[in-house]
């Protein structure tokens, strides 16, 4: 199942994500994670560290959910492809083409949502490293150069913003494609009286 998901993400994206992860790992890799029960830390600091840890876990859960969603979307796109074939055979070529476009756009959107989720995991990890380092420095537990860590978090944040903006645009495009699909389907059913092609 995981293999299918990776394949669905695509080699180019996988490479980009790997590079991104490597960059962030390089920045935060030298930070020793603090324990949330470390008696040298005040309660507020422990909570802060724990929150960062939670952030990573939540981001990973969201990524897994996105991966599952991509898989379901791909599966559904196959079904939509079959429905498009049915439509084409019944003479609804226009509607069939629109349906195929919708299916492809959905998969592309789901892929990019997964990509964003991966980036958000990287961002949460970078933030965790930064917070651990800041906390350690603040309480004289270790010495770190904080600036690279801050830059890494900022870079990840900027990347998520960029991807989110891209996703917003994709969603808008998908909404337009979907409208075109249903309009063409409505025309076809009204003209031909065939209403069962999507229900086989």
């Amino acid at each position: 199942m995981a293999g299918r998901t990776r394949h669905a993400v695509g080699p180019a994206l996988a490479a980009a994500l790997g590079l991104w992860a490597a960059l962030l790992a390089g920045c935060g890799g030298g930070v020793t994670m603090l324990r949330t029960d470390d008696p040298r830390l005040p309660v507020e600091a422990r909570r802060w560290v724990a929150d960062a840890e939670d952030g990573v876990l939540v981001a990973r859960a969201m990524r897994d959910r996105s991966a599952g969603r991509l898989e379901a979307t791909i599966e559904r796109s196959h079904e939509l492809g079959e429905e498009a074939d049915e439509l084409a055979q019944a003479g609804a070529g226009d509607a069939a083409e629109h349906l195929r476009q919708v299916a492809e756009a959905r998969v592309a959107l789901a892929r990019d949502e997964l990509r964003l989720a991966e980036t958000e995991v990287a961002m949460a990890e970078a933030r965790r490293a930064q917070i651990n380092a800041q906390t350690a420095v603040r309480h004289d537990l270790a010495v770190y150069e904080l600036e690279p860590l801050e830059r890494a978090t900022e870079a990840a944040l900027a990347e998520t913003r960029r991807q989110r903006a891209h996703l917003d645009q994709q969603r808008a495009d998908l909404a337009q494609l979907t409208s075109a699909w249903w309009e063409s389907y409505a025309r076809f059913t009204a003209q031909s009286g065939q209403r069962n092609l999507l229900w086989q």
């Binding site: 903006a165 389907y185 409505a186 229900w199 086989q200």
Partner: protein, 1098 residues
């Protein structure tokens, strides 16, 4: 391993295996007769040995026991001979004539009697008598037997053998039909202490009463038999069987193993009491009664079988049904179960007892199945049996359904009917009536509201239906039921839910493939799509429901589909999707008619609001600052309330993250796109505050003015804010204009006070008393004490004494007058008096001179009163003015001449008095001047009045006004200022950044900005360095007073630069002596801080 060794090993293994595999030799048991003969041989040996022992034991104490042993051995040999004969006769009869037996038994009796005769008190006498009775009974000599056992029971009342003897006597009487005698014997047992045969005696008594047709007593006796046997078992921990007969407890056990003599009293009593129970006790309690008394399941079943038979004979249907159900449940697999099934069917149909028909059909079919599993019986018989019981089961179910149709509210009956049909279907899968039964079952389930099961049954019926028309009907029925079930699946198992939904879709697909009328097609499709919706697969649900909406617009199902689509998006929290779908439905070519549009428009609108909240939340979250999505949202909904709210939220988010550039852009966009928005003034005002926080002073003034233009209630406050900024940049005239507009905007409300006070203060700074009076006098009605005091003071200065006195008096009388207002009012009064003093023409007489002196005293007191109010600004002015007045008065007094009518002595005294008065006035003037100058060192006050005092100059009448600033030059700060402003946008109280920005401004030639920034830095704890810089900025901006005070504070805080700058500034102001004094007054401080040009040189 070598091959030779391997072959050897194989040979050994083969040999061993061969040995193991050799056929076993069969060794059969020896024939029973042979065993008996062997025993005879052995017992004869024992008899011989015993005889020899007796011969050797003459006179011994144990001789009676040896005789008893000999008799028992003889009896034993007799028994073996009987068994040999019995076997020889092929066990055909136990009535045999065997001479050896009779001979040996008589020998045994003879030996027993000899012992009794020779040893009448022998310890074994009771046992001897019991054994004699036993032998006599077997020899058929009953009278002698009775005599022997009666002797035993009479002579040995405490013998453990007495009860058994009585039992034998009772049985003998019972067999002879002498029931009274038998009863007496049995009663003798049960009335004695408990024994092993007490239960049996009760049991026998039960039979005695039954033979007398007294069922009540019989039942009681049987119940007591069961209880007594159970009690004895419990007490002895024995197994369930007692031994009847003499040998049960006999020593040596000669009769202990005798077959055919064992009886399970509890079982037999339970079975035998059934006869009377069936007639005497209620049917309903039969099963619990028997169950509670049964020691074993076998006993219970035996009793049930007897009871079933009895109820059958009595034609008791309810009882028959209950008992046969229990038998079918518990009874062992046997042909009798078929009879039970038949009896159950008959009983149920006769009485119409269908409330347990499901279980009954289950019992009948189980009995059938078990019977068919048995190997006995022909195939023909099996088929007949199957056919017979299938008919019974089907008949029961259909009769029960008919009953349910008559009582449809009886859902328990309906459930039983459904169960009966389901059992039938499982039991007879190949039956020809299957379709009919499936439909019956589906109908019942539908009636019961068990729609999902009904749907499954209809679907099953459709699969086995032979023609398309009926198949289609069944499938549609299935779809309708499935659809009805979808809402009620929440409490069902996951498997149930999945099965039902899959069945629904499968049925729907089949139906649609067969061609369906449009109304039915709609219903079917909605049901199919709903299965995705209910299973949480909203993506598929949305696709199918949308298809349905477009395929059947304007229909009930189409409308439902539209709502379900929107609800699916809502459940997914996909507001964007909901909005798009909703707009699509409502748009041209969409499936929504006007009515539906009215329904979904609020849903879409709510989603748009929620989507905006979502986007706003994301922009304000941990990764906030992503304003693009909000701006896009605003653009998409431009001109609507939603668009305005989006811009507002973007504005709030930009402010939260300190993005100044976007903040100003968004604010301007808001003001441009939504000029009538009630939020615009607030937004612009907020932007103005932001500009103040980042010291973009001109922008702040512009924003406040724009905000004021759109505001109503807040307009005075906004204009004042702009005016204050203008004052801080030396633009007092423009500030005056704004204050005036603010006063006008406030009207007669309480909001008028603040702008009016600012207006009065600004007018005072300008130093134009006449303009101040002409501007403020019309506005003075209801003005604050501060305004009235300033007005009164100005009026006093221009000689409008009456007006001045009125306003000053009002200021002093005001309950909320500040110390400065009071001080100013007193100063005004003093100035009025001083002015009167100046113009006072002294008459040459004594009275005129006296008046002058009094006027001087009153004026002096007025100044002192002003000085005592504690105003840092007014106190030195009052003191300075007092000094001036004292000087002037002293000069006038010194010029006075005594009146001409005085004597020479009086004239001299008069002159001396005037001289003392002149001296006193001189002293007052000096003291006042010194106190005024001292304010510099004690209160760090360096205003114009104090500086005059330090210089020894008279203080002018208008020294009370604050100093005006030089106009601010137009300066562009270097780019670094932007970053500092960015920091201040996020934290306006960052003292370090404030000082940095001020330094930048100071270096760039904008001391006004620096002065404002440093004032805030000092307020935020910027320290002596910030105070010193504030002094430099103030000096550059034209605020000498502020500069000196700031330097003094820095010097007081230990900064050497402050000390040196104070001295330098004082020197620059022509106060060299004061500068020197400053250096003496303040200790040398720590190094650091900026120095004025020329500072630090002294």
């Amino acid at each position: 391993m070598s091959s030779a060794r391997r072959i050897g090993a194989l040979l050994v293994a083969a040999t061993l295996l061969g040995a193991c595999a050799a056929p076993r030799q069969q060794v059969s048991d020896p024939p029973y007769v042979e065993q008996l003969r062997l025993r005879i041989t052995k017992v004869r040996g024992a008899i011989q040995e015993t005889r020899e022992a007796i011969a050797r034991s003459r006179g011994a104490a144990w001789l009676p026991e040896l005789y008893v042993r000999l008799a028992e051995l003889l009896s034993e040999e007799a028994r073996y001979h009987f068994e040999v004969a019995y076997e020889r006769e092929q066990r055909s009869s136990r009535v045999l004539h065997v001479p050896q037996v009779r001979f040996l038994k008589e020998q045994a009796i003879s030996v027993y009697r000899r012992v009794l005769a020779e040893h009448p008190d022998a310890a074994l006498a009771d046992r001897i008598l019991f054994n004699i009775g036993h032998e006599l009974r077997e020899l058929g000599r009953y009278d002698e037997m009775v005599a022997a056992l009666e002797e035993l029971s009479t002579r040995f009342p405490k013998s453990p053998l007495r009860a058994e003897a009585l039992l034998v006597l009772g049985d003998h009487a019972f067999d002879k039909g002498e029931l009274e005698t038998a009863e007496r014997r049995y009663q003798a047992i049960v009335s004695g202490p408990p024994t092993a045969v007490t239960g049996l005696a009760h049991y026998k008594l039960g039979w005695v009463w039954m033979n007398r047709a007294d069922c009540a007593k019989s039942l009681g006796a049987f119940e007591r038999a069961i209880d007594a046997a159970a009690a004895w078992q419990a007490a002895r921990g024995a197994s369930g069987t007692e031994r009847a007969g003499q040998g049960g407890v006999g020593v040596g056990g000669a009769a202990a193993e005798r077959p055919g003599q064992a009886i399970d009293v509890r079982r037999e009593a339970l079975v035998d009491l059934v006869y009377c129970y069936a007639t005497d006790r209620p049917v309903a309690e039969a099963l619990p009664y028997l169950r509670s008394r049964a020691a074993t399941r076998a006993a219970y079943v035996a009793a049930l079988e007897r009871l079933a038979s009895r109820y059958g004979v009595l034609d008791e249907a309810k009882g028959s049904a209950a008992v046969t159900r229990e038998l079918l449940r518990l009874g062992p697999t046997a042909p009798e179960r078929l009879d039970d099934a038949r009896q159950l069917y008959g009983a149920v149909t006769k009485a119409g007892l269908y409330d347990r028909v499901g279980e009954d059909v289950g019992l009948i079919t189980t009995a059938l199945r078990r019977q068919l599993q048995r190997v006995e019986g022909s195939e023909e018989m099996r088929q007949l049996t199957r056919k017979e019981l299938e008919l019974y089961a089907r008949d029961l179910a259909t009769r029960a359904q008919a009953a349910f149709q008559r009582r449809p509210q009886d859902t328990a009956l309906g459930a039983q009917v459904a169960k009966a049909y389901a059992v039938w279907l499982d039991a007879f899968p190949q039956a020809g009536e299957r379709v009919a039964i499936l439909l019956n079952l589906a109908d019942v389930l539908a009636e019961l509201g068990r729609h999902e099961e009904a749907g499954l049954r209809y679907a099953e019926a459709a699969q086995v239906s032979v023609d398309d028309a009926s198949r289609k009907d069944r499938l549609y029925d299935a779809v309708v039921e499935f659809q009805a079930s979808l809402g009620g699946l929440a409490g069902r198992s996951h498997t149930d839910r999945v099965v039902v939904r899959a069945a629904m879709r499968r049925s729907g697909e089949q139906l649609l493939a067969m061609g369906l009328e449009p109304d039915k097609a709609r219903v079917t499709k909605l049901g199919m799509a709903q299965t995705w919706y209910d299973s949480g697969d909203y993506d598929r649900a949305i696709d199918q429901l949308t298809a349905l909406a477009y395929e059947y617009p304007g229909t009930k199902e189409g409308r439902a589909a539209v709502h379900l689509v929107l609800d699916s998006f809502n459940t997914l929290n996909d507001y964007e999707g909901l909005i798009a779908a909703g707009r699509r439905f409502m748009g041209p070519g969409g499936p929504a008619d006007d009515a539906l549009r009215r329904e979904i428009l609020p849903i879409v609108t709510a989603a748009e609001n929620r989507r905006l909240d979502e986007v706003s939340l994301a922009a304000a979250g941990a990764e906030g600052g992503d304003l693009d999505s909000l701006e896009q949202f605003a653009e998409r909904y431009q001109g609507t309330d939603l668009g305005e709210r989006a811009l507002l939220n973007a504005f709030v988010a930009a402010r939260a993250v300190g993005d100044r550039k976007r903040l100003y852009e968004l604010g301007e966009e808001l003001a441009r796109s939504y000029p009538k928005s009630e939020q615009v003034p607030g937004i612009l005002g907020s932007l103005g505050k932001q500009a103040v926080a980042t010291f973009e002073l001109d922008r702040a003034v512009g924003l406040f003015e724009k905000a004021a233009a759109g505001a109503t209630e807040q307009r005075p406050r906004l204009l004042v804010a702009a005016g204050e900024l203008l004052e801080a940049t030396g633009q007092t005239q423009r500030a005056l204009d704004l204050y005036g507009r603010a006063v006008a905007a406030a009207g007669e409300t309480a909001a008028r006070q603040q702008p009016l006070e600012r207006l009065a203060r600004a007018l005072e700074i300008l130093g134009d008393d006449r303009r101040l009076v002409s501007t403020l006098a019309p506005l003075s009605g209801g003005a604050s004490a501060d305004v009235l005091a300033r007005l009164g003071l100005a009026q006093a200065r221009i000689g409008r004494v009456d007006d001045a006195e009125r306003n000053l008096g009002a200021a002093l009388a005001a309950p909320d007058a500040t110390a400065e207002a009071k001080a100013r009012a007193h100063l005004g009064s003093a100035e009025t008096l001083a002015r009167a003093l100046e113009g006072y023409e002294v008459a040459g007489d004594l009275e005129g001179i006296q008046e002058l002196v009094t006027l001087i005293d009153v004026t002096e007191q007025a100044y002192l009163q002003a000085a005592r109010q504690g105003s840092a600004l007014v106190t030195p002015v009052a003191l300075g003015r007092l000094a001036a007045m004292a000087g002037t008065a002293a000069a006038r007094v010194s010029r006075l001449q005594p009146p001409g009518d005085l004597s020479a002595a009086d004239a001299e005294a008069f002159r001396q008095g005037l001289a003392r008065r002149v001296d006193a006035l001189g002293a007052t003037g000096r003291d006042a001047l010194q106190a005024c100058a001292e304010q510099a060192w004690t209160g760090r006050v360096f205003n114009e009045a104090v500086r005059s005092c330090l210089a020894g100059r008279p203080v002018s009448a208008d020294a009370v006004r604050a100093e005006g600033l030089r106009p601010r030059a137009s300066v562009t700060l270097p780019p670094a200022a932007e970053e500092l402003r960015g920091r201040l946008a996020k934290n306006p109280e960052d003292a370090e950044t404030l000082v940095a920005l001020a330094s930048l401004a100071l270096d760039a030639g904008d001391p006004h900005l620096a002065r404002v920034a440093l004032a805030r830095a000092v307020a935020q704890g910027g320290g002596p360095e910030a105070q010193n810089l504030l002094g430099i900025a103030s000096l550059d901006a034209g605020d000498l007073t502020g500069a000196l005070e700031a330097f003094a504070d820095a010097a007081d805080a230990g900064l050497e630069a402050g000390r040196q700058n104070l001295a330098a500034a004082l020197r620059g102001a022509g106060l060299a002596e004061a500068a020197q004094k400053a250096l003496e007054r303040f200790a040398a401080g720590k190094p650091g801080g900026r120095l004025l040009p020329g500072a630090g040189g002294s």
